[in-house]
């Protein structure tokens, strides 16, 4: 039953990704390997789509994965799965708001959760870099000269500097990157 599976997989993602947004990435990579619903390149594309459209990346990814596997209803079911743990947990916390805020067990857990969350985001970043900045196929072929995609690395450096200097919205940089990708045949 594909709808149950969709709901379950995204429920799990919603339940364990703490810190929002990019924290869902490690779970999406895991899901990509386990289910084959979408590829790692799809995830990278979806990050860009999410940065350029309203809505959090987790919701966008669940809608996308659900839609491509089981149509419109699949998208709805997957998104509800992702949202369900949030709603349940917040409803419980809302009842004990004051206690939760100053609980030293909760605070302590977050001391460990925060570095863990960005460690996994770093890994997700490396996963994107693996499809965007280098060509892994050349390693297998023994052709090391073409391992680095220099055009891509140059563009990445330019965007990195541009983002630091100019406080433009990410959407603008994504648009520029798309145009550069088309013009220079990435």
């Amino acid at each position: 039953m594909v709808f149950l599976r969709l709901f379950y997989e995204f429920f799990k993602t919603g339940l364990f990704s703490v810190g929002g947004g990019l924290a869902t990435l490690p779970f999406l990579y895991e899901m990509s390997g386990n289910t084959g619903w979408f590829s790692t390149a799809d995830i990278a594309n979806m990050i860009a789509v999410s940065e350029s459209t309203p809505g959090p990346i987790g919701i966008n990814m669940s809608t996308y994965a659900g839609f491509t596997t089981a149509g419109v209803l699949g998208g709805v079911v997957a998104s509800l799965g992702l949202a369900a743990p949030s709603v349940i947990i917040i409803l419980i916390i809302a009842k004990f708001l004051e206690k939760f805020r100053n609980n030293r067990f909760v605070e302590g857990a977050f001391y460990g959760l925060r570095p863990a969350s960005i460690a996994m985001i770093t890994v997700a970043g490396l996963n994107v870099a693996r499809v965007a900045l280098v060509n892994m196929d050349t390693l297998a072929a023994g052709n090391y000269g073409e391992f680095f995609l220099w055009k891509a690395i140059l563009l990445g450096t330019a965007i990195f500097i541009g983002q630091r200097k100019l406080k433009w919205s990410p959407v603008i940089f994504i648009a520029i990157a798309a145009v550069v990708g088309i013009v220079f045949q990435f």
């Binding site: 990704s17 703490v18 810190g19 919701i59 491509t68 949202a83 570095p115 870099a129 900045l133 990445g156």
Partner: protein
């Protein structure tokens, strides 16, 4: 009933205009919920955000649920959450349908190859931004490195460690370290 409908519409609108999620939506929520509708105060909103950030799930959705709950109980929470989901659901379904039909065109492929480079940079920026608040001392750095290694090299390990297990483990280790520290501080006094 009218109240629920208003909740739904308000959050559906917010869901349609928040790009980037998370903190990007704070100013919008402030205008819509504090200034215009007086549903909540700025201080409460900030608290909801900090709790939303440190509870599982999507931050924006957590905040919507909080405010819906405050306004109209469990029903309100559900309605606010659904309202928030509506916009992204419709938009992404349309984009997914488009991508399914056009993904094989070279132009679209080149565009996305360029876009992926930009995504790399965005993730690097996010990590740099979060680093200061998260990796606060040596023990936190050790947790970072351990989780990084276990997650990055998981294909090489004999047993696959699911990301969920890493999250639970890191939470327990963090709790253990902080409780020991506060105990040591008490005994030191």
């Amino acid at each position: 009933m009218k109240e629920l409908w208003e909740l739904y519409l308000t959050f559906a609108r917010i869901g349609c205009v928040t790009f980037g999620g998370g903190y990007a939506m704070l100013p919008i929520l402030e205008r819509e919920l504090v200034d215009k509708r007086h549903w909540t105060s700025m201080d409460d909103l900030r608290d909801y955000f900090s709790i939303g950030q440190c509870t599982p799930g999507v931050i924006a959705l957590n905040v919507s649920t909080f405010i819906g709950q405050k306004k109209a109980g469990v029903k309100g929470a559900l309605v606010a959450g659904l309202g928030f989901l509506t916009g992204p659901l419709v938009i992404i379904t349309l984009i997914a349908a488009f991508l399914q039909n056009f993904a094989q065109y070279p132009v679209v492929q080149h565009a996305f190859a360029g876009i992926r480079v930009c995504v790399c940079v965005l993730i690097v920026q996010a990590v740099l931004r979060l680093w200061k608040k998260s990796v606060v001392d040596g023990a936190a750095l050790a947790i970072y490195l351990a989780v990084f290694a276990l997650n990055a090299f998981s294909p090489l390990l004999p047993v696959k460690i699911p990301a969920a297990a890493l999250v639970i483990l890191a939470g327990c280790v963090g709790m253990f370290i902080s409780l020991r520290r506060s105990k040591a501080a008490k005994e030191g006094k």
